[in-house]
């Protein structure tokens, strides 16, 4: 067996072991709406579907307007964005399976919504790939160990970890990380000048807004009923995500370790300068601070206190 094959076998066995810890009770299988806000988000997913190939005016995209340096920078930025979208395929699929394994006959609103999310992630991935290709070529590999390590977390397995309450998972990945991701897309959209790039960012942001809304609506339906242990798990997971993942540079190149930053930061600066779908570190810093404040305030409404985190460059956030 090849090295890749051996590693895939280890991964499958890890998922297999997790799956076996659950006992699925499928009947009675209820389909009626339980949480109207979640069912509405599912309805919106159906009504607002779009096609990366036909709903973006690619024929109006003229990369030759930009010089080679700019095109290379933008293709690098969009390649990196593709790498950051890709985990959503496994994470949202694993979360769907978790709901099915754990919720028994209930939770159909969330399951239907999540049955759509992997396809939406795939469309975003396709857009990133198409833009990178048109700007000079998609790069399949960061070629830099720091970014490769920091952008790779086993959140798919965490979704199927029965020890981690599903509310904690969704608070960390949905309410915090998806919220930050969405806010960053909105920021990039505000800075973007190229009309095709703007259309791409607007379509992606529209879906991402629903993903974030799902997280908050789900938490709103569950958090008030959680016991002290699960409430503590929610806060621990969000703190962990913030301190050890987000502030380590999972979403923002300027937060990467010093020696890993440069190629990505330079590419983003050039991409932002020409309005091709990025923001400056200063703009992103503002988005990050605003997002943390926003998340902290919303959690506080449920009397969940997100502790402050110390960061060498940002200070206390």
């Amino acid at each position: 067996m090849s090295e890749t094959g051996e590693h895939a076998t280890r991964l499958l066995r890890a998922y297999q072991a997790q799956e076996k810890r659950f006992v699925e009770r499928r009947f009675p299988l209820e389909f009626a709406t339980e949480v109207p806000a979640l069912r509405e988000l599912y309805s919106q997913s159906k009504g607002l579907h779009w096609n990366p190939e036909t709903d973006i005016a690619w024929d109006r995209f003229d990369p030759s307007r930009y010089d080679k340096t700019t095109r290379q920078a933008a293709s690098r930025t969009w390649s990196r964005r593709a790498w950051s979208v890709y985990p959503g395929l496994t994470e949202s699929t694993a979360l769907l399976i978790r709901f099915c394994l754990e919720s028994g006959s209930l939770g159909m609103d969330a399951k239907l919504f999540l049955s759509f999310r992997p396809a939406e992630e795939a469309k975003h991935l396709e857009v990133c790939h198409m833009l990178a290709e048109r700007l000079g070529g998609y790069e399949a590999d960061p070629g830099e160990a720091g970014l490769a390590r920091i952008s790779n977390h086993p959140f798919g397995q965490a979704a199927l970890d029965g020890d981690l309450p599903v509310e904690a998972y969704i608070a960390a990945l949905g309410a915090l990380d998806d919220q930050l991701d969405f806010n960053l897309y909105v920021c990039h959209l505000q800075q973007a000048k190229d009309e095709v790039v703007r259309a791409a960012l607007r379509l992606i942001a529209g879906d991402r807004a629903r993903h974030v809304a799902f997280a908050w609506a789900f938490l709103g339906s569950r958090v008030p009923t959680l016991d002290a242990h699960s409430r503590a798990a929610v806060i621990a997971a969000v703190s962990d995500m913030l301190g050890n993942v987000i502030l380590a540079g999972y979403r923002n190149a300027w937060l990467l370790p010093e020696k890993s930053r440069e190629p990505w930061l330079a590419a983003e600066a050039e991409t932002a300068r020409h309005g091709l779908g990025a923001s400056t570190p200063a703009q992103e810093r503002g988005v990050l601070r605003a997002t943390i404040t926003q998340v902290r305030e919303r959690l506080a409404a449920w009397k969940l206190d997100l502790p402050r985190v110390e960061h060498a460059e940002l200070g206390t956030v």
């Binding site: 890749t4 094959g5 590693h7 895939a8 991964l11 499958l12 066995r13 890890a14 998922y15 297999q16 799956e19 699925e24 499928r26 009947f27 009675p28 299988l29 389909f31 309805s43 159906k46 009504g47 990366p52 190939e53 036909t54 593709a82 790498w83 890709y86 395929l89 496994t90 699929t93 694993a94 769907l96 394994l101 399951k111 239907l112 049955s115 759509f116 396809a119 992630e121 795939a122 991935l125 396709e126 790939h129 290709e133 998609y138 399949a140 590999d141 960061p142 952008s151 790779n152 977390h153 086993p154 959140f155 798919g156 981690l164 798990a233 997971a237 962990d240 995500m241 050890n244 993942v245």
Partner: protein, 308 residues
Amino acid sequence: MLIDKERAGAYVLEQRYPLPLSSAMPDVWELWRRAKTLEWDPQTDIPWEELHPECYRAEQLLAAQMYWSRRTWGEYGAISESPALLLRFCLERQLPDLQFFFTMRTMEEGRHAEASWLMAERLGRYFPQPQNPPTAGAVGTHGVRRMAFDPETSLEGIFASLVCAAEEILIDVFKATVHKATNPAVRRLMELILRDEVRHIAFGWQCLDAWAPSFTPATVRNIEAAVITMIENVEFRGYRNLWLAIEGGSATPAEIDADRISCEAGLGGNTPEDEMRVFPDFLKKIRTRMAPWGVSIPVFDHPRLGKV
């Protein structure tokens, strides 16, 4: 909480790079492209105003409610179980075409489940479980999730059993009986499901045809075993049609007869005569289709179908 376990090595990290995203299987990529252009919404794309449940007798409505409820349970399996295959594609770093297409398949199956539930509801009532719970074993699961997470079960075997066997017979029966659905809302729903499922089946056959040159004798045995299991332990236990259940299970006579009554009322479903005609043809077809790969599907003995 999240990172502690990662640091402790409790989770296995994926090897993500290089991450190719360009199409390498044009036929499968074309299915992904088509799926994006053919999205539909069960709430708005079916002429529900033409359903007119008041035009049917209580016995017919009850049968149709049972039929569409059981279809809902079956479609739900594609939400609960087969998405595990997408995970497997990602973990095994299969070609991007497979990963992209399967995201749409998961979405489409969710849509089929919702549509089937809506049909039962709008015909008067959705039944959330079989009349006798033990039937749940037959109608509840086809076991694909467990197979997908099992590295000992080959992907080829799963494709052959889930896609080329279970989905193929489902669609063969749909194709053979859609003309009997005289109710416009029911017929439109069947047509829309059929349109999606045709792509799902094409996906399975295209992948297996592409991989066939590299099949080893073990792969062939794996495919044979998986297809036989799907026929004997899933189809012949009444997963799709209770009339086919060899031991009858604990399904009630009303449940077993529901497909026929619903079909005869033009509300979807099929009759035992349809099964007698379609099932042997289906087996002949997949036997012939898989033979060039060296796969041999045996003759099955069924108390009502005979030797098929």
